[in-house]
């Protein structure tokens, strides 16, 4: 893991420019928001998440997170069917601030087109460069 301007960027994940990360776990994909995203929003007090069994499309919003001062769409990094939603985050949205890459995960998706969609995401090295280019 490296830190860019105080924002954590772990290895082994893929990143979107909408501040999402994914982790490939066998045939499934785990999705969440980055450390940079949670730090920009600050204390998150509400997460609106879809139900398992529904679908998400790449680059389209599937939910929202709201902090004291801000509100942001959650944009899917990969499309597919939602297998599981992190229910704990709904009742404890602060997990997004405390552990965005761990306990603050949001969805487990059964990807529809992973091989086609993956190249549009950034790998670790690209994500580090991109975080640097964000200026802070």
């Amino acid at each position: 893991m490296v830190e860019v301007d105080g924002n954590e960027v772990p290895e082994g994940l893929y990143y979107s420019k909408d501040f999402a990360w994914i982790k490939i776990e066998g045939t499934k994909v785990r999705m969440g928001i980055t450390d940079y995203a949670q730090k920009s929003l600050r204390e998150i007090v509400y997460a609106e998440l879809p139900d398992a069994g529904t679908g998400v499309k790449q680059n389209e919003p599937y939910g929202t997170v709201e902090s004291v001062k801000a509100v942001s769409d959650l944009v899917a990094a990969i499309g597919g069917n939602i297998e599981e939603v992190n229910q704990e985050v709904k009742s404890k949205p602060e997990l997004l601030n405390e552990d965005p890459y761990g306990k603050g995960w949001l969805l487990i998706v059964n990807p529809a087109n992973l091989q086609e969609e993956l190249p549009s995401l950034m790998d670790f090295a690209q994500a580090v460069e991109w975080h640097k280019s964000q200026g802070k």
Partner: protein
Amino acid sequence: MPRRIVIIGANAAGVEAASAARKKDRTAEITLINQEKTAGYSRCGLPFVVGGQIPNFKDLIVYPQAYFQMLKLNLKTETKATAINTKGKTVTTIDKTGVTETLQYDSLILATGADAFMPPIKGREKQGILSLRTIEDGEKIAQAVKDGAKSAVIMGAGLIGLETAVALIEKGLKVTVVEMLPQILPQMLDADTAKQVQEHLQGKGMNILTGKAVEEFLGDEKVTAITAGGEKIEADLFLSAFGVRANTKLAADAGIPLGETRAIKTNSRMETDVKDVYAVGDCAESPNIITHRPTCAQLGTIAVRQGKVAGTNAAGDYAQFTGVLASAVTLLFDMEAGVTGLTETAAGRARIEVVAGAISSKTAADYYPTAKPIRVKLVVEKESQRIFGAQIIGGKEVTQRVNAMSFAIQKQMTVRELAKADTAYAPPLNETWEPMVQAAEMVLMKLR
């Protein structure tokens, strides 16, 4: 069709307005127009980068790129709004490449800020007179220090002037502050409080000349000295800190009325006299909570509170701004100085009859080794015995006392109630008799 909200200015007030608008309207098209390259940064932090407490100017960025993107805020940097048409509801802009654009709005928020003010002093067209309003200004000062400036003249003993003077002394410069009025911090403190702050600053090596106006800038092309009170003062660095003036040209040209402070006139929803046009921050005036007269105090805390109100209203919801007490604090070397509400001077100007009392105490039990001095001055209206103002200076714990007095004033607390207030104490943390309570007792005695 989504609501179109255009915000001119993207710092404290502008970004706060945009965030509040987004919270109320998830689909609105929100556009921020920012003249500077960097948006969403803290101007108030600039002196502390000059002083070296904060390593880089970019550390002052409060809202990074990601924030604007996540909230779907369309930020146009290095873009200047050149005209507003309030009938057609458009704003014309020009970017740094010269491309002009006309933006349609349903709601417009003016957060155009303020500019450093330069009085008509002889020689003011000469080069090398710096100010401290933007990151670029800050970088110029930092560069001058790096280039070996050994001495500085600061013109103006307001908050920015003194905070920068402290920063430059900490960087090893010999600093002279010139103030036209007979005291430092004239907008903020009464003369008795200001005198104690001045003595502290002089004790740290700051040369302060009060009651002396800058008469001329000397030098061929570049300023090398000033004259003030007939005296010639040479220096390597000259900082103009005469104060700032609300940036109202764009509004005035569009026929948006200004108020009696020469800032943009607003109502309690931060709406100007023109429908669907709001004004917030350093360019806008709002009533003082006590006097109900318009004020333009130009503080960051006011900017964000006004911004939130305007953003909420611009997005079709309802919010009211409750007014200004102009609560402010500063750290000068190891002394904190703060104010809320009216000073005796301001009360006098408003024809309000007040009684003031000040006590000197400690921030911990007198016998406790880390106890620092603290002085609390209360300004109380004679007739109602209500607290109208407080000035607090001390080694620490000033800010939250200023806040407590601000709350007390807003809740219309009387000095009699304050004198009986329940407070907290432990030897390392406070005196048994809280200094604010002691000051209240002093005023009560004077009211007898």
